[in-house]
């Protein structure tokens, strides 16, 4: 898709823009199936040196020194994050440490108070709730982002088949179960072929069995489509199972950046898995010996790495 990310030496700045509202230039001409083209020519409107620089270095996401203040309290204070195509990072941290805020900034739903935020133009989000439009049929929900939804019907059906619920294309969202609705949300996020997929605790509301299936589905879809992925989660096991890198957010900045060097498919009983989980739990302030099942991070009173206690929420 975007040549710059695959081959930095032959770089152009396809499909990369800043999210400050000004630089998000006109979309490219719509493709035949009703979606805007993801790529833009290098000389596209709004391509600053920073955007070009990031693209040339092969980054799809370049967030540097991101700061966000709510009511005089810096929830994010100097977050640095760089992602290449196909990178899958999980963002951990107790409640209130700004995980969702960072995700919203990357998604363009919120604006940072300071710092540089360069993200791909084509990106999509899956929220904790499916957020389907009740008045639109499932397939129309999937192609919500299309310019001409009717023209994109075929792609909607294909995307629904990919997430395993092709039979529900004509159903109303109300009739779906929680897991099915979240599959639709996933199909909607992937149908645009995003360069960046933002996941805000997408499986938190699902039952344990459905969650396991969704983990497998997400891993398979990401392996096939290769977007850069940022997964916000409270579930340490989920983070280790899916991500290539686990980031722990604390005190408004990234306190730990831990690569996950375990072969896929990953097994929860793998000693390396258990060791990493122990490390992460300790980092999150929930020191605990190895136990079974998934481990949710509870809001805790203190964090081992507390670089900036005045800006910490706890």
């Amino acid at each position: 898709m975007s040549a710059s990310v695959d081959a930095p030496e032959n770089a152009t700045v396809d499909g990369v823009s800043t999210v400050d509202g000004v630089a998000t230039a006109d979309r490219a001409a719509a493709t035949l199936d009703g979606f805007p083209a993801p790529a833009e020519p290098a000389h596209g409107v709004g391509n600053t040196d920073e955007v070009r620089g990031a693209a040339e270095a092969g980054y799809v996401v370049e967030a540097l020194g991101v700061r966000r203040v709510f009511n005089g309290r810096a929830v994010l204070d100097g977050v640095d994050l760089r992602l290449r195509k196909g990178n899958f990072v999980a963002l951990l941290g107790p409640s209130g440490t700004g995980k969702t805020t960072l995700l919203r900034i990357l998604g363009g739903l919120d604006t940072a108070d300071a710092g540089r935020v360069i993200v791909p133009r084509v990106r999509s989000t899956v929220f904790q709730e499916p957020r389907l439009i009740p008045a639109q049929r499932v397939w129309r929900n999937v192609v919500l982002g299309a310019r001409r939804p009717r023209a994109a019907r075929r792609r909607a059906t294909d995307a629904l088949a990919e997430v395993g619920i092709a039979g529900h294309a004509n159903a109303w969202p109300r009739t779906l179960s929680g897991g099915e609705a979240q599959r639709v949300a996933l199909a909607r996020a992937l149908v645009t072929e995003p360069d960046l997929l933002l996941l805000d605790e997408p499986f938190a509301a699902l039952d344990a069995l459905t969650r396991i299936r969704m983990h497998d589905l997400l891993a398979a879809l990401c392996a096939r489509h290769e977007p850069a992925v940022v997964l916000v989660t409270h579930d340490v096991d989920e983070a280790i199972l899916l991500a290539d890198r686990v980031l722990v957010l604390s005190g408004g900045a990234i306190a730990l950046d831990q690569a996950v060097d375990i072969d896929k498919p990953r097994n929860r009983d793998d000693p390396r898995f258990l060791a990493l989980r122990a490390t992460l739990l300790e980092q999150l302030g929930v020191a605990r010996t190895v136990g079974g099942g998934s481990t949710e991070v509870a809001a805790s009173g203190h964090h081992p790495v507390d670089r900036n206690p005045t800006t910490d929420l706890h």
């Binding site: 957020r131 009740p134 919500l144 982002g145 109303w172 969202p173 909607r188």
Partner: protein, 295 residues
Amino acid sequence: MTTITAIAPDEKAAAKAPLNRALIDLSPNGRGRVVAMRQRIRFWGGWTLRVGVPMLLIVFWQLALNWHWTSEDTLPSPKTIVEAYKYLWGNGSLQDAIPVSLRRAGEGLLLGGSAGLVIGIFAGLWKLGEEIFDATLQMLRTVPFIALVPLFVTWFGIEEPSKLALITAAALFPLYLNTFHAVKGVDQKLIEAGKTFGLTGFQIARRIIFPTALPGILTGLRFACSFSLLSLVLAEQVNATAGIGYLIINAQNNQRPDIVIAGIWIYAVLGILIDFFMRGVERLALPWRARVGIG
């Protein structure tokens, strides 16, 4: 072992002791379950009650006269009223009156309703619109439109324009209020989801806000219909020279309570027809909504 049961083995003698807690039987034909009965009642009950209760009232009405609880001069019997319809039909006044009244109500509904809809959408979508219209309209809506009659007569005279103005005013507010609240009340999370997919403001309005707000808008339309009918009755009491109201006033002057009641019945039937029509519209326009109730 061939079968697996979920019934716990008796481990302790205490578990075998009789239970002193109330139990109910929820199996399909159990006493605690009245599904079949309820379904039968729902099937027959719905229409029987809808049609039966008014019929019973009419029968009671007729009997009250037969038993001389009241006189024909005070309350003409249903039979007399049917005669009145035949009389009105015979001299052509019924055929003249109904279209005139319907047109008044329809024009007022169209004018007031579309104004209410447009302003409601404008105020719901844009902060500016809300600031311009909402406070004023919220203030005006508390004024009973009946109080406007003398004012409208002064402004627009006693002819058609004042009637139209009254019906328009009556239809505007319910549609405005419901549209405004429905548009404004659309879940922000859905709008946010739309934004993450790069939808423009217009696309968000068309694909997310309007379809989701439609139930509220239709509720507004339903109210606007009833209000325009209500104000029609009122408007036609003032110097009408045609229409159902004119028939009623005329009959009142001529001491014909049967024709007065015949006219009132027409208003009632129009009300029922509007309700029926709106049910159909809602059924067609909102296929995605669950029809929920408590049985």
